[in-house]
Symmetry: C2
Subunit: 209 residues, 2 copies
């Protein structure tokens, strides 16, 4: 199987979201073809077929895709068919904001712990998850079965936190700290880079019309 590009994964998630909304609205219809799906997404139907082709055979000639089956298959491909345990490192404004994020639940992501060094925060509970001292990362990762982590600490301490997480077996990290982190190839790192987003806005405002 050829390895799909990252953008194909982004699009699969988009297809899934659309199918979920679509199924909610038109519950009588049980199938959709790639042309209809493409129209709803304002995208080329070839693209949809290609993105799906990385993961096997989908759909039936003349009928299209059975909606429930396609949703289930995409969920399984994306790892959204089971629960993952997540921790949030850094309980400042951003970390606290993330604790309140409602999207985790829809993705079956369970925030099971937060980490911080502030004695006033340690021991407190947010949405049922406790805050632990940063030093206890390795023991708590093992104890709670943490598989994913979000980094919301300052740039200066982000790499050392990530090192502790990886040492304990965490293999998927979403980083909000404005710093380039180093991880080995068996660890997945995604960065939310605010300045990279903002530069598209300054470019747009200053580009000649």
């Amino acid at each position: 199987m050829k390895r799909p590009p990252e953008i194909a994964i982004t699009r699969l998630a988009m297809y899934l979201r659309l199918l979920e909304d679509y199924a909610r609205e038109k519950d009588s219809k049980s199938a959709i073809n790639s042309t209809e799906l493409a129209q709803l997404l304002d995208i080329n139907p070839h693209q949809i077929r290609k993105d799906l082709s990385y993961f096997g055979k989908f759909g039936e000639r003349g009928l299209g895709y059975r909606i429930e089956e396609l949703k289930e298959k995409i969920r399984r491909i994306l790892g959204l068919d089971k629960q993952w345990n997540l921790c949030i490192c850094g309980m400042g404004n951003l970390g606290s904001a993330l604790f309140a994020y409602r999207g985790f639940k829809a993705m079956h992501l369970a925030v099971v712990a937060g980490f911080d060094n502030d004695p006033h925060k340690i021991g407190r509970e947010y949405n049922g998850a406790k805050i632990y001292r940063t030093k206890s990362i390795s023991s708590m990762v093992k104890k709670l079965g943490i598989e994913m982590a979000i980094i919301a600490v300052p740039a200066s301490t982000a790499q050392s936190i990530v090192d502790a997480l990886m040492k304990s077996g965490v293999r998927a990290i979403l980083n909000f700290a404005p710093v380039s982190l180093v991880v080995p190839s068996n660890v997945k790192l995604r960065n939310v880079d605010l300045s990279a987003e903002l530069v598209h806005l300054t470019y747009f405002l200053s580009a000649p019309k």
Copy 2:
């Protein structure tokens, strides 16, 4: 001039960041060629030349790019050579976290106002910028010359805030609310979609090795 794709803008910002770091370290060197630049970025030199070619002629045969000149040109292309006035809508945990973001200054972005409906927050100052009631968006946008906005309000109110901003002349918006916003083609909208990032992690963790 052919319109550059969005990804070329992302890469230009990356080139600029590298050149700034590079210039800091090796201040004796005044020029760099696309092969050297490509090596530092682990990218194809053709890509660099193509990305720059959207914006005119760069570099000299045999010499490469004069570093200071290239930095200045990229800054101008990206709109980073002047100050833009920015507001943050929604002063919950996320909005407050954004107020403390240090990257704005490096991009010459001035956060000149925050907006919220909470009477306890209205009138307070964060880093020298005042919080105003949401109802006063249109008057304050004009008074303070606000050109860009960050949306950190709940999904349910995001579109109405964006409508008010656009009506007052704001043309560049960064959205953190988990909702698809509708804007006309003369307004630039970028979305920071947390669930789209997280799905890359769940996919990675569940993909066959």
